[in-house]
Amino acid sequence: MSSSGTPSSESPPPTAIAQDPAEPTGPPASPSTVIANHKRKDTSKVIVRFRAIGNAPIMKQNVFKITASNKFMAVIQFLRKELNYQHSDPLRVLAGTG
């Protein structure tokens, strides 16, 4: 899925991105530089907390780090491996319900 971030349960209150009037006033980057920078993969890490609901098995460890550029699909595939679930075993993953 190309959709970006999923709201996390620990998202800060909606202050959004601060517009600091005192930000450095260098010359703006050219559009091609801006686009090239945005295309670069985000290598920062995101902390993912798993919580079992319904009759999902409890995990030994439930906090993991994942590279931000991964798709949500990677989280599901990881979870299936971790839980030793076969392809046919039903697994529902909900995001952001804190």
Partner: protein, 288 residues
């Protein structure tokens, strides 16, 4: 409570449409050249919603042809089209944004889209583009929008099954009154201020989609403009203040439903009126 039926902007957006010429991939017709299928489709609709009528048309022209709905896919100039994006958004990204990059003036209308029934590009597109998958994706976008506005999906989840279905049915049957009769409650957040606005920003050249938390109000409690939202996401393309209007022409502008709105447009109004039926305000950035 049919306040939006009086909203001429929401209605014009709902009625926006694009003429498309569907061409069957010649390598999949055993050398036969099939007559293309012409159809005018709503900008707010999805490719998955018209797959069946295209399939029927091609099946009628080609004896003994069968193909699975879940195997059909579309491309424009070799780029697979995401079936889970609204058609108008696809057109704005792949035609208007792309031509602005190439500095081409002429609009290629009708939009020439190629149809495939084989070799589904599973690494580029979400699999199984059926009507049911499309409905699920559409509803999950509406829930995500609700989450951004309220920090929970209660508003959508507490809707009755028939009220939820009314959204999809309204879109499917192109009924403005049916869709907006229900959607108004969601986009207006029942009259309360949203925590965040559901906004997605699309830069050229297939950059990852930008989706940040977008507060409807600025730090002084005033309503934000589209310019402020775009500036927060890509400050180099959208300066907050135009230094000298005569000397520095803007480097970028934005498209919603194929039109360039003023960047001083109130973002709350835009999110309530110019969002796609999936409740997201999709902003397509074009370079000047």
């Amino acid at each position: 409570m049919h306040t939006t039926s009086e909203n001429p902007v929401a209605r014009v957006i709902w009625e926006g449409s694009i003429p498309i010429q569907f061409i069957w991939d010649p390598t999949e017709t055993q050398g036969r050249i099939l007559e293309p299928y012409f159809v005018e489709v709503p900008r707010c609709s999805y490719l998955s919603l018209i797959t069946n009528q295209i399939r029927r048309d091609f099946a009628a022209k080609r004896l003994g042809f069968t193909s699975d709905e879940g195997e059909m896919w579309f491309d424009y100039q070799g780029i697979p089209l995401k079936w889970h994006y609204p058609i108008g958004l696809l057109f704005d990204i792949h035609v208007l944004q792309a031509t602005s990059m190439k500095k081409e003036a002429e609009l290629p209308l009708p939009w020439r889209v190629t149809v495939h029934s084989q070799n589904f590009p599973g690494e580029k597109l979400i699999k199984n583009p059926t009507l049911k998958s499309c409905q699920d994706y559409f509803m999950s976008m509406i829930k995500e929008a609700d989450y951004l506005r309220n920090g929970s999906t209660k508003k959508v989840m507490n809707m009755s099954k028939s009220d939820q279905t009314q959204l999809w049915e309204g879109l499917w049957s192109k009924s403005y009154d049916q869709f907006w009769g229900m959607n108004q409650r969601l986009v207006s957040n029942d009259g309360t201020m949203a925590r965040n606005l559901p906004v997605r920003i699309y830069l050229p050249e297939n950059c990852p989609v930008i989706q940040d938390l977008v507060s409807p109000l600025d730090e002084y409690g005033g309503p934000r403009t589209l310019r402020q939202i775009l500036h927060a996401a890509v400050p180099d393309l959208f300066p907050l203040v135009v230094v000298d209007a005569g000397l520095s022409s803007p480097v970028a502008s934005v498209l919603i439903h194929g039109v360039r709105p003023s960047l001083e447009t109130d973002a709350i109004w835009a999110a309530q009126t110019m969002a796609y039926p999936d409740n997201f305000l999709h902003l397509v950035v074009v370079l000047e």
